[in-house]
């Protein structure tokens, strides 16, 4: 009788402890914590990468008129374009070099002389103060043929 009683107590205790332990184990599983926001302490400074130096070699240069590959019916024409303000602009046709200075808005008009037929034309824009430059190439054809 006593043996059975002791056995019952023992079994009961085991069951109780087991159940309690399981409950406690489940309760102790940590809840997902929010990611901590990185902060810098007042004494730290965010390191900055050295700023990449940007090439300033190139000026802008666009020929607006006449468009590339145009056929013109006059040997002497006006070349119009835009570049950086006050840049020196050079135009070389098969016959001559022409030089102009862009205005404060970067606009320029330059008189050029063309050869008969196809004219490969080199154009350059130079900023004398910064040494920035830009070059371009256009083709104009001088022909009086009726097209």
């Amino acid at each position: 009788m006593i043996k059975e009683l002791l056995l019952a107590i023992l079994l009961g205790a085991l069951l109780g402890f087991g159940a309690t332990g399981s409950i406690l184990t489940l309760r102790q599983k940590p809840a997902p914590q929010p990611q901590p926001t990185p902060t810098t302490s007042p004494t730290q400074t965010t390191p900055t990468l050295p700023s990449p130096t940007i090439s300033t070699i190139s000026s802008t240069l666009v020929i607006n008129s006449p468009p590339n590959n145009s056929v013109v019916n006059s040997a002497k024409i006006e070349l119009k374009g835009t570049t950086d303000p006050n840049n020196l602009v050079l135009v070389r046709t098969p016959l001559k070099t022409a030089i102009a200075t862009a205005d404060n808005n970067g606009n320029f008009i330059i008189d050029v002389e063309l050869d008969s037929g196809l004219n490969p034309i080199s154009v350059a824009s130079v900023d004398p103060d910064t040494n920035n430059q830009s070059t371009t190439q256009i083709y104009l054809t001088y022909s009086t043929a009726k097209l």
Partner: protein, 229 residues
């Protein structure tokens, strides 16, 4: 004991960094270049003003000739009105044109890459190549005995041009006034040059940007470094 979430600090307010500003500058510069190029291309194809294309013939048919124009194809529509001028400047039959021959085609654009051609002119392939260069750089050396000097371009300091002046070379200062022909080491020059059969270029036009300056000022100006990428 119920675990509590520690209070989170508010994130720092975003401030533009040096890198972001430089990236923005680069982005704006690229956008500007793209806009310029697009406006140039649009202007070329927007109207039906006469155009001329040159290139080597790669295909022929009775109604159309295809040429290679600077790496892209151009289709030349041929009609009864189309006139062909051969190398001797005589009118000739269009069916005498051959594959590989360089021609200059004049007409009005039908589409972006098609020309309603009125005139075909036999052309030397060399005639389409630019004969001149415009170089901007610094005089690194001058000769006491010959009219030859060395120019190092600002956009490529690993390169140098041997340039000779002739009696027809035009000299200008920064104000576009004609000046004498004295070249000074260290001065900045814009040179319009032409290739010759030798390694030396011939100067057609020279603009000395530092001509009016005193020697010390010229050296200081020429020594100003340009920013590199």
């Amino acid at each position: 004991m119920i675990p509590t979430t520690p209070p989170t600090l508010p994130p720092p307010s975003p401030t533009p960094t040096t890198i972001n500003l430089d990236v923005q500058k680069i982005r704006e510069a690229v956008q500007q270049k793209v806009r310029e190029k697009l406006s140039q291309i649009t202007a070329e194809t927007q109207d039906d003003q006469p155009r001329a294309f040159f290139g080597a013939i790669i295909e022929t048919s009775p109604a159309q000739i295809t040429i290679d124009y600077q790496g892209s194809l151009r289709h030349l529509q041929i009609s009864a009105d189309t006139v062909y001028i051969d190398a001797k400047r005589n009118k000739a039959k269009i069916d005498t044109l051959k594959i590989g021959q360089t021609i200059l085609a004049l007409g009005r654009p039908a589409t972006n890459d098609t020309l309603d051609t009125k005139r075909l002119v036999a052309t030397d392939s060399q005639a389409a190549k630019p004969q001149f260069q415009i170089v901007f750089g610094k005089v690194s050396d001058t000769s006491q005995t010959t009219p030859v000097f060395t120019l190092i371009p600002f956009n490529n300091k690993d390169q140098q041009f041997q340039i000779k002046t002739t009696t027809t070379t035009e000299f200008f200062n920064r104000q576009k006034e004609k000046i004498d022909t004295t070249l000074t080491k260290g001065h900045r020059l814009i040179a319009v040059i032409k290739s010759t059969t030798s390694a030396t270029f011939t100067a057609l036009t020279l603009i000395d940007l530092d001509y009016s300056l005193l020697p010390a000022e010229a050296s200081a100006k020429a020594g100003t470094p340009t920013k590199k990428p």
